[in-house]
């Protein structure tokens, strides 16, 4: 039997985390290929609707990554996202979906190493959790 390979959607901010992911790539760091990255201008652009939609459409996990506190290119987008995701996790818990399927991380442009580690850890964690239960839920 082949091992379950989780499908991860990553929303990465243009100024920090996407550059961090780029650095991981150009430095030839190894991390699992389970993440599909979507570049957004700011993690603050990530509406909770996007995250729910990704989960609904079958993503096993969603990673949102933005600049460290104080570093946001637009000053405060990352703070907003942090709050949104905390509130969204409460909703997920109430609806019987593991809140840990959604993850928010601060990854700067110089933290290629951290990006690789976050993705590796997230994949391991999702493998333990198994497939997203919403996949089998009726429409």
């Amino acid at each position: 039997m082949t091992e379950f390979e989780p499908n991860i959607i990553g929303f990465l901010c243009n100024w920090c985390s996407y550059a961090g992911a780029d650095l991981a790539g150009t430095s030839r760091m190894k991390y699992p290929p389970n993440i599909k990255s979507i570049r957004v201008m700011c993690s603050g652009r990530v509406d909770t609707v996007f995250i729910l939609d990704a989960l609904k459409k079958g993503a096993d996990g969603v990673l949102v990554a933005g600049c460290h506190p104080g570093d946001c290119h637009y000053q405060s987008g990352n703070y907003k996202t942090n709050r949104r995701i905390k509130l969204l996790k409460k909703l997920l818990g109430d609806m019987g979906v593991e809140p840990r399927r959604v993850r928010f991380e601060y990854i700067s442009a110089s933290e290629g190493q951290k990006f690789a580690k976050v993705v590796t850890d997230f994949v391991d964690e999702l493998k333990k959790m198994g497939p997203n239960p919403l996949k089998t839920l009726q429409d």
Binding site: T48, L52, L91, M95
Partner: protein, 332 residues
Amino acid sequence: MDKKKTDSKDKKLQIAFYWAASCGGCEIAVLDIDEAILDVAAAADILFWPVAIDTKYKDVEAMKDNTIDVCFFNGAVRTSEQEHLANLLRKKSKILVAFGACSISGGIPGLANIASREEIFKTAYLDNPSTENPDKTIPKTSVKVKEGELTLPEFYDTVKTLDQVVDVDYYLPGCPPSPWLITDAIDAIIKNKLPPKGSVLAPMKSVCDECRFEKSEKKIKSIKRIYELDKIEDKCFLEQGVICMGPATRAGCRGKCMEGNMPCTGCGGLLPNSLDQGASMISALASILGVEGEENMTDEEVDKLIEQVKDVVGTFYKYTLPASLINRRVMK
């Protein structure tokens, strides 16, 4: 064309009303249009309306397809009986209107999707403190007694919206729909001026647009329930710390709740172009909560802010759970 004209002149509009999983408020709302009901009576024949006139399901079954010009269907679909009637009325009606929040997006009965049928039966028929049920009887779809077999409709595990069961032509939002939305809709039907199929018969704007309160930049320090306010100020509820669903809710109500000093709870349903009312409001609320001094806040302090929202599903999905992206709780 000519034939059609004479047809509408000679023949009154044939209409029907039905209630499924709902409270009955939508039936009252039909009478809320006051004297305009006389215009409806002059222009239309009511073929089927279980709450008001004595017609039977078999009368509807006996009708030819498309006999009913317009059917107003309120309530969500929760039992096999309601599903049967939804299918039947769809077949017999030219235009099917989802009337009110329950039929459009599940409404209050839709909140039952947070539990399973077993959990609901257990609470309603066994565990409820005011329930005396020593034989532990719960509803069954059929039971044999010596006189024969007795049947009940099946109670489904999941509440569905009307358009999850059958094709719906128009949506009339609200809990219940406001009288002016109803008269506008009936007027459009009588004058044959309905918008394209699938339209929501209400404005495209949010409740905030119709709300009487003054709005400025929103920053909330802490979340309050309405009774915790010492004095209701003449400004936006969100700015006073009270969760108001206005920004994520479709207008049409003319801000009546705010006029009565109560925040919007979201009965107008989804705004155009939004996929999920609750998630939209979660984004909106989280973006204005504890904004002042956010750069110096520890993660624990942010957790405390979020902890103030007590009932996430009940607050943000009060009327739209079955129509939301995660439309029921995942049962283990």
